[in-house]
Amino acid sequence: MAENTKDLQGFTQEQMNKMFSFWTDVMKLPTIGPIYAFSKDVTSYANDFVSLGKVMAELKSSMDSYWLLVSTAYTRAIKETMERAPKQLTSKDDLESYRRAAIEAFEDAFTGLFASPEFSAVYGKLFSSQLDVSKAIQGIAEKNFKALNLPTRSEVDEILKDVAELKRSVRDLKRSLETKYDQARAST
């Protein structure tokens, strides 16, 4: 039994050594290109996915706070509807009164909620958490773009910013030339 285990351990060790040396050799092969870039960034990718998990957990927490407020408003609206609406629905008018009471109650509850400072804070946090998730995903996407030697979103953003500033400079130069031209024409 012990001999078998030793054999198995030896076999496993041997296989593992072979496997690792195989991958070490594979990773050594291309010193440029996407495979090399991916393998080089593997730790960084792992960290990114851990971060993504973290921001998604924060998003879940923000969503919980948001839905808690919404469900509280909903419960309040249902309670108000029960109080305001006719107790028996025996005619078409009763149904109409019920509809009006429900609309009023839900409107009061939800408009009150949306206008409250508490909702503003929770909504702001939820929005921010959603953006954090987008940012984490963008970070991972940017790495892939770099690995494929493609321009990233950040790089394109820098170009767009430069273009916007250049356009403004051209506009200002054009205006100042026009003013000088008008002044010169007026003086002649």
Partner: protein, 374 residues
């Protein structure tokens, strides 16, 4: 939103004449009523799918200038021109400008034309991802200024009336502080001015929005985010109840037409350029820099006390998008001696696109403008 605000086009359910009511009518059975309700629901469902096809903005016009950012429209005269000063309407960056010409009997533009004004309108085009860094500086000092110059050149005048609505009213005010020499009158409808006094849900949501993060990560404000804000405005009285009203009135063609035009406009929401939206929320809503005279466009400071031209400020008492308390302080901070605040009992959209507006708002606005347009 109140019915009056977002459904300015709605008319009350047409009741049968008294003579018809006197006729002995057989009460429908429950089965018949259920069948009829189902028919109406089915008809409403089919009609809602066609909302995008309905025609709007039909007052005859020509495109005077077109760029990547805007189309400058010139409306055809309907009567002999009686006002010398042309009007340039600066529409907001939220939704589309055809709300000012939604249908012939509720058209802001058509009413001004029928009063003898020469009307031009800036119809903003939706920004693309490449416009992320387009700011208020670009909108005001470049696009609006270019349109002003074009109109002045075409009309061979040296000044015009700048007439802005909502965000466009704020932009018109910004423009007037910097280029007053080209503005004879400033007439604004529901401008966003003092946001600390704003009492709306929109103002409340803007307070805690991390807009810098949004612009950095997403870029332009997506339309979906605007829908999310809209859905928080009178969600049941408007959002739910309007569809009940539609089903009830589904056989009334005029009602359905009015409903679809507003519905089309409500959901025709382009994105907003990132940097412009950042300034709008962070500088104007969160820091209230505009009314404090601390807002900067490029290197220039917006100082509202520089405004000396005649000012007309039109506000709606039931406005739930820009509260009257937020708009009215403009009259306190400008230096104009000729200034007027007009208040009306309607809402944000009812102020510009309703029968109430045609009968109560526009005659007074026209009168004020005409007296200062000769």
């Amino acid at each position: 939103m109140t019915k009056q605000e977002l459904r300015p086009d709605q008319e009350p359910v047409v009741q049968p004449p008294a003579e018809q009511a006197k006729e002995v009518k057989k009460e429908p059975t429950v089965a018949e009523e259920v069948k009829d309700a189902y028919r109406k629901l089915e008809k409403a469902r089919n009609i809602l799918h066609t909302a995008g096809d309905i025609e709007v903005g039909q007052t005859p016009q020509e495109v005077l200038e077109e760029t990547r950012a805007y189309r400058l429209l010139h409306y055809q005269q309907m009567v002999a021109k009686t006002a010398k000063t042309p009007i340039l309407v600066v529409y907001a960056l939220i939704n589309r400008s055809y709300v000012l010409d939604l249908q012939s009997d509720k058209s802001w533009v058509r009413s001004l034309l029928s009063q003898g004004f020469d009307v031009y309108l800036i119809d903003w085009k939706p920004p693309t991802a490449a416009d992320k860094y387009v700011s208020f500086d670009d909108y005001v000092n470049c696009y609006v200024d270019d349109c002003v110059n074009t109109v002045l050149k075409k009309t061979k005048t040296d000044k015009l009336t700048l007439h802005g609505y909502c965000m466009g009213a704020t932009m018109s005010t910004m423009y007037t502080t910097l280029h007053q020499e080209k503005v004879r009158n400033l007439a604004v409808i529901a401008p966003v001015v003092d946001t600390e006094k704003d009492t709306t849900v929109i103002g409340n949501l803007a307070k805690n929005m991390d807009v810098n993060k949004m612009v950095n990560i997403i870029g332009n404000l997506p339309a979906e985010q605007l829908y999310a804000c809209y859905s928080a405005l009178k969600p049941f009285k408007q959002g739910v109840n309007k569809y009940f009203n539609l089903v009830q009135n589904i056989d009334n063609d005029q009602f359905v037409g009015n409903f679809l035009r507003i519905e089309k406009w409500l959901y025709d929401t382009p994105p907003i350029a990132g940097e412009t939206f950042r300034q709008w929320v962070a500088d104007i809503y969160q820091k209230n820099l505009f009314v404090k005279n601390e807002l900067k466009l490029g290197s220039e400071l917006i100082d509202l006390s520089r405004i000396k031209v005649p000012l007309l400020n039109i506000v709606a008492n039931e406005d739930h998008l820009v509260s009257p308390q937020c708009s009215a302080p403009l009259n306190d901070v400008v230096s104009s001696t000729d200034k007027r605040l007009m208040r009306f009992h309607t809402g944000h959209v009812g102020l510009i696109a309703s029968l109430y507006s045609q009968n109560n708002v526009l005659p007074k606005v026209g009168q004020w403008l005409k007296a200062r347009s000769q």
